[in-house]
Amino acid sequence: MTTWKEKLQGDIPEAMGSLIDIYEAQMELRKQGKLDEKVFAEARLRKGVYGQRYDNGQRHDGLKTRALPYPSNDIVKGPDTLWDAPGMQRIKIPYGGMTAEQLEALSELADEYADGILHITTRQDIQLHYVHIDDTPDLMRRLAAVGITTQEACGNSVRNITACTLAGVCHDEVFDVSPYADAMTQFLLGHDDVQDFGRKFKVAFSGCAGHACGLVKMHDLGLLAVTRELDGETVRGFTVFVGGGLGTVPHQAKVLAEFCTEAQLLPLTQAIARVFARLGEKKNRNRARLKFLVAKLGIDEFRRLVEEELATLPPDARHQAYIGELGEFDYQPAKAGLALNGAPLPAGFADWYRSNVYRQVQPGYSAITLHAPLGDFTSQQGFELADIARNYVGDNIRLSVEQNIVLRWVADADLPAIYQELCAIGLGDAGADTIVDITTCPGTDTCKLGIASSRGLTAELRARLLEKIHQLPEAVRELKIKVSGCFNSCGQHHVADIGFFGNSRRSGNHKMPHFQVVLGGQWRENAGSYGLAVGAVPAKSVPAVLEALTERYVAERAPDENFQAWVKALGRKEIKAMLQPFMRLPRFEQQPDMFSDWGDSRVYTIDDIGVGECAGEVVSLFSMEISKAESTHFEALLALDEGNYALADANAYKAMVLAARALVRTKYLDVGDDRDTIVSEFRSRFYDTELIYDRFAKGKFARYLFKRHAEAPPRINEDYAHQIIDETQLFIENVHSAEQRINGVIIG
């Protein structure tokens, strides 16, 4: 029987395959205790392999905290994270764009490795939950075979680059930002200058200033499409925002550059990344996002540093090459655009059309939103949706930051038919972009940091609102609700009209799940302003609080007054007074149901909260790089065991070069990937200076590298393979020792 690795050989790009092989070898080394747990944790996070609630081997079952005796409880995949505990696999979908084939592949994986559910995130990713780490290499290979990577989906790296779902079909956009998001994704993926961040780095593109889709003002790097007249020509470019972010301490991004041309886009981004890597906080993870660096330095000083960096940036052909390829980003509709033909419309169509259909700028075509409740859909829905996409829109599928699916380039004449087909697979619900379309993070369902059940609350609110959606006044229907399970804002509660984030309060001897109410955030204008917390109410009281708020809003609002303006006019004191009746806490004996969370019958506890992995591990660049050398050395050993001596030699040599590169990069970040350059730099910086010298063996181990680099062996047999693998091991140890002597510390 063939393995997936064998079966997919030839279908996976070599570079992607090699990274997966390295990761698989790192897994083996970790299981053998030969790779530090923090280094492995960061390595797996950078492959999108994330921990999940209860992976520390404990769970409160409502009566007491109970140990979960996983089979290999002596092996960890990170600090306090047990190997066998189920985890989450995050999968990057750049700007949310995917093909029908990719959707099918994702659906297959959800079937075989997860729980049959695909979850759409607020960064246009797909997440699979309850995945065993042992399955992740094959999962990644099957993704790679259809052009999807999980590389740098989590950890201290550049996360999935997001963009408006309507880019390219929008009436109001300045130009289509999709090809730029695509180019930046390709440029930054695995780039040397984004490997040494203290925290994650989020990038977003928006085609216009007015709508929300791109949300550029709440990103580390936000790029807003603009044009300028230069020498009589209209030139495309971007207004560049930096240092935005939500989280515990939300920051509005600052304008770094009013206009950055296409040609400057990638070098400027690279320069920002280099400044962040060099000066960003590395130890205190709570202060390590770019927003803190920008706030600390001030935007003017940050700009000066970026400009300085830009001036000394090494030349890179990729900086400009993408511009010539922008024209290749062409949409292929499946059908000719035709208007609705006046035929009778199916029941429910009118409601759906009103909320879920967007008339594209291209005549005869529409983009339609498929509402995925709580961002979830099944693998079977995925297969059936792929068929619908092929039939009506081709590969024009996008995921939205509001956790929905958007099909673009639907011929208007096909709208009734596609609506009926979507209804048949459970994806034809009306109400997209309305109050029932609630965004939520995973919360206590699967997140280690969750304090309250954001998904439970969302499901409850959604069910209640759906029952009365037709009775709701238009002003209420238009409101945005967003829910997070804790203050970290993964559900983006700061930019909703009505946001909630989980916390807890005590009543007597019991804890009670609560949600802080956040009012008046602005979704439009790219997350133009953030809402204010006005008070915490019991989780079970939230539906009543929502009703009270919306009823009063409808009753008191001036004509055309929006929710934000109404909240501002009402004032925080009055709102707090309105919430006060809901804040009185019963005792457990009086109302025990208030002491359990939505969708969870257990008596509430916060004992299950663990240490989150959102921040990644604080691991030095050297540790990450040398671990690649070690896992490549391990692959050489495997090749030796399989009798493939040529491969053993190739991997051993590669491992020596990677080890040398790891050390060189502690002094010279821009050494690049060219082997001659790496060896030359290594020689001049560490061998000629004797810094690499062992106390007894002197420069002997380094000469193993020089010898192999100078010439390939004339004959490769088992003895030779054994020898070079041994030499590689000695060289890697030598590099480790030298790094400790020179830099004093391995793991930050």
Partner: protein, 198 residues
């Protein structure tokens, strides 16, 4: 074609639509964790009842998922063996029958008269497209062996057919045993006394 699939699942459907709602299953599964009502190392309960024809409510264990499943528009109890499968297909099938039956009967006991499974019919899914692609050839190669094993499990003739034609879906079978197995007592007795389970 008798490789042990990576994962193997078995679903018994309800005989009729119950009064009990999927939301009512959630506290039952939570209590099962407290009381360790079913075997396997129980971890948590997941609520997917908001997803149309989805996995419903899942009781997650290290080795398995036990779901009050709504897939294909059929309400049933699905036991998915994810890990630690026995080293023969025959033993794996005996195991999933045993665990699925135990869970389904435990659930019936929670709502006597309302929840009633049809144990004479089962859907068996092979969650392993590498070894079991959903092709006619797979069925042709496996049919005789699977019918033999299933007939042995029921101690009665069992008819098997492919559940889905769509090659993208999992390879799955619908098995039909004689009607006397519908209420589960005969199958329970058979599994209880079997050397395979012992």
């Amino acid at each position: 074609m008798t490789a042990v699939p990576k994962r193997l699942s078995l679903k018994f459907n309800l005989r009729r639509e119950p009064k009990l709602q999927p939301a009512d299953i959630l506290p039952i599964f939570q209590r099962w964790i407290q009381e360790h009502t079913v075997e396997d190392m129980l971890i948590d309960v997941i609520d997917y009842k908001h997803v149309p024809q989805g996995p419903g409510i899942i009781l997650v264990a290290d080795e398995s998922d036990t779901a009050y499943d709504l897939g294909d528009g059929e309400i049933g109890l699905q036991y998915i063996r994810k890990r630690a499968l026995p080293d023969t297909l025959e033993a794996a099938l005996w195991l999933v029958f045993h665990r699925a039956l135990a869970a389904a009967q435990a659930l019936e006991a929670e709502a006597p008269g309302d929840l009633a499974f049809d144990f004479s019919r089962a859907k068996i899914s092979f969650l392993d497209r590498r070894h079991y692609p959903n092709q006619p050839a797979t069925f042709a190669a496996a049919q005789a062996e699977l019918a033999r094993i299933l007939s042995d499990i029921y101690a009665a003739p069992v008819a098997v057919r492919r559940a889905y034609e769509d090659p993208r879906r999992l390879f799955a079978l619908r098995a039909q045993a004689p009607a006397e197995f519908a209420d589960g007592r005969a199958l329970h007795q058979r599994l209880l006394t079997s050397r395979q389970i012992a």
